[in-house]
């Protein structure tokens, strides 16, 4: 089981601890054994410990410490945002976020929909059971 995702310049990572929790960032430089310089289009470039990063599959083609404009252009060329939102990891995060922000009324409507869906599934299952019996 070799490693597949490396800390390298251009690697897209997710910050998983601290004030910037949940933010997608690009590794822009490596400071020392433990820290990386990290940047995102809507963030001030800052240092982050490797332990606070979760590496993703995505990579962006940039040179060491690019200017903000170059970084933004490179991220758009690599289509980071769309690829992330389509990936299963990204989709799970979006689902978690919507679930957390559900209104009391939304939760009620969700419950009604779940009941309907379960009823349909049960009907189909009953039909299949009848056929196999």
């Amino acid at each position: 089981m070799p490693f597949k995702r490396f800390i390298e310049i251009g690697r897209v990572a997710l910050i998983n601890y601290g004030k910037e929790h949940g933010r997608l960032v690009v590794i822009v430089d490596v400071i020392d054994q433990n820290r990386a310089l990290v940047d995102a289009p809507d963030m001030v470039r800052s240092q982050v410990n490797f332990k606070r990063l979760s590496l993703t599959d995505l990579k962006v083609d940039i040179k060491r410490v690019p200017k903000k404009k170059e970084l933004i252009k490179a991220m758009e060329d690599a289509d980071v945002k769309n690829k992330w939102e389509k990936s299963s990891w990204g989709r799970k995060l979006i689902v978690r976020k919507t679930r957390a922000n559900l209104n009391d009324f939304d939760r009620f409507k969700l419950m009604l929909v779940k009941i309907k869906k379960a009823a349909v599934v049960r009907q189909e299952l009953a039909k299949l059971k009848k056929i196999s019996a």
Binding site: A100, N101, L102, N103, D104, F105, F108, K109, L112
Partner: protein, 234 residues
């Protein structure tokens, strides 16, 4: 119009340069205030008004009793209580969740805040059995769901509307002590039933226009497995 056309002037004519130092000197201010004009009108001296004759106070007899110790009088307190501050999330038309009391868990529509600070609230009665009722803000969760209450007129409701009727005092006689007192069943006066109907009819139209809202208001709220109240968004 009558002589006084300008508004009573309360701002000083001497702008402050720094605290304690005005822009104009004494002589300049004398001129600005027009004291020379007032004096000229009055023949060289400032006008003098004789004190108005005070109405004669009735002569008081010397008191018969002087207290032995000097008792301190408490300071006068003219503070008038205001109705409780309404939370920003609670506006007319908000759906509230009642947390305590007979109707705990019921989702209810907020109408207005009464002068005592309590919230006026209605089921509507047809949907969940909660009548026009007063409720304390502390026992209520404000959701972010709003119902359109523009068609409802709540001006006639205030705290006196909800006051209990004074019970007639019954003289306890020996015979009645041992017999069980017949308790009269409290009947809702027809006027209150009509008030409920008028308020609810306007609300029902607004509620039925939103899909699922009627079932939502009819259902009770409860915490299920895994729901953390401090993390829930209402």
């Amino acid at each position: 119009m009558a002589p006084k056309q300008r508004t009573a002037r309360k701002v000083s004519r001497n702008p402050e340069l720094i605290r304690g130092i005005g822009k104009y000197s004494r002589s300049k201010m004398y001129h600005k205030r027009g004291l020379w004009a007032i004096k000229a009108k009055n023949g060289g001296v400032l006008p003098r008004h004789d004190p108005k004759p005070k109405p004669q106070a009735p002569s008081q007899k010397p008191p018969k009793f002087y207290p032995a110790d000097d008792v301190k009088k408490p300071l006068v307190n003219k503070h008038k209580p205001k109705p409780t501050k309404l939370r920003a999330s609670i506006t007319p038309g908000t759906v509230l969740i009642l947390i305590a009391g007979r109707f705990k868990g019921k989702r209810v529509v907020f109408l207005k805040q009464l002068p005592s600070g309590l919230l006026l609230v209605t089921g509507p009665f047809k949907i969940n059995g909660v009548p026009l009722r007063r409720v304390n803000q502390s026992y209520v969760i404000g959701t972010s769901t709003k119902v359109d209450v523009s068609g409802v007129n709540v001006d006639k409701f205030d705290d006196k509307y909800f006051a209990k009727e004074a019970e007639k005092k019954k003289k306890k006689e020996e015979g009645e002590f041992f017999e069980s007192e017949k308790e009269e069943k409290k009947v809702m006066p027809q006027e209150k039933k009509d008030d409920q109907k008028t308020v609810d009819s306007a609300l029902l139209k607004a509620i039925e226009s939103v899909p699922d809202l009627k079932a939502y208001i009819g259902a009770r709220f409860s915490l299920k497995q895994g729901m953390k109240p401090h993390e829930l968004v209402f």
